[in-house]
């Protein structure tokens, strides 16, 4: 918990530096959040090009809106929230899950990096397919919690609902994931 407090203090400093027109602060924010946020976006849409576009738009929005945020904003949740809304927008506009799955199949071959060789390809493909099949809200909480390591409180800010709602959402998401995982061969 101490680490968390330090991280938040760091973010508050970054925000106030940005507000005082220190451009290096934006640079630091970008470097700090690019990787986790772009991974979140990729895992939501499972398409490399689209994920990159959404990532760019997200950080442009961050630049444009950061001057007006509350001084004590939880920067990470705030950025994830922008990214999340952009993903949901995209998913709503392109509702065909089938397309997502086709992309996913193709993409997961392209994206296998050396660091994941320990995970076998079959299992990896299966996860991609399961993730593509479950509801985007379930997908979102699973990634935010298990991949991005956000606390329930942070997730509740990203998704704009109460912490207790997040508790049951994550529980249901895991039940759903497991159900689909067992059904997909």
């Amino acid at each position: 918990m101490l680490g968390m407090g330090v991280r938040m203090e760091e973010d508050i400093k970054l925000v106030s530096r940005f507000k005082n027109k220190d451009m290096a602060a934006y640079d630091e924010i970008f470097s700090k959040y690019y990787k986790p946020v772009s991974y979140y976006i990729f895992k939501m849409v499972y398409n490399k090009e689209i994920a990159e576009d959404i990532t760019q738009d997200t950080f442009i929005k961050v630049y444009k809106a950061l001057g007006n945020v509350d001084d004590n904003v939880r920067l990470s949740s705030w950025i994830y929230r922008i990214a999340h809304n952009a993903c949901i927008d995209y998913i709503r506009k392109n509702k065909s899950t089938l397309e997502l799955l086709d992309n996913a199949k193709e993409i997961c071959d392209l994206n296998r990096g050396p660091e994941q060789q320990f995970m076998n390809k079959e299992l990896h493909d299966k996860i991609v397919r399961v993730m593509g099949k479950i509801n985007s809200r379930y997908r979102s909480v699973l990634i935010l919690r298990d991949y991005n390591d956000l606390s329930y409180k942070d997730i509740s800010i990203v998704l704009k609902c109460s912490e207790s709602a997040i508790k049951s959402l994550i529980h249901r998401a895991r039940l759903e994931f497991q159900k689909v995982f067992e059904a997909v061969d």
């Binding site: 027109k21 451009m23 290096a24 640079d27 970008f30 470097s31 690019y34 990787k35 772009s38 991974y39 990729f42 895992k43 490399k48 994920a51 990159e52 990532t55 760019q56 950080f59 442009i60 630049y63 994206n111 296998r112 990096g113 660091e115 994941q116 320990f118 995970m119 299992l123 990896h124 996860i127 991609v128 699973l142 990634i143 919690r145 298990d146 991949y147 606390s151 329930y152 508790k167 049951s168 994550i170 529980h171 895991r174 994931f177 497991q178 995982f181």
Partner: protein, 141 residues
Amino acid sequence: MNCKEYEFLLSIYVDNECSESEKQELEAHLNTCSSCQKRLDQLLLLKGVVRNESIQLKSAEKVKKKVYNKLYLHFFILFAGLVICASLIAVSGGLVQLLLLNSTPVIIKCIFFAGVGLIMVGLVIIMFDIYRNVIRFMKNK
């Protein structure tokens, strides 16, 4: 509590978001219930599976460059738009001045030119601000 309720608690437990008392109660139950113990193992496996599914994306530097370019373009367009507006006002101001010169009372002319002057000052201030933003960007690149 029954196993169904414990199952809900388990999901919170693997996320380390349980209260101390919930944790103790759950751990006591886990010692006696093999089906909940099995569920715990499943949940931990699932978490591991999601966590370890990694991918390779473009490097931060490449994407950062693109973001900066887009932002730069955004400021450039704003700047160009303002320059165009300013020149339009200047030209139309000149035209109106030509028309007003002979036939209008002095007081109306004064008010008119004061108005044009204020608009110009405002534009200069806005342009200066945007110019500063652009310079900041160029320095940063």
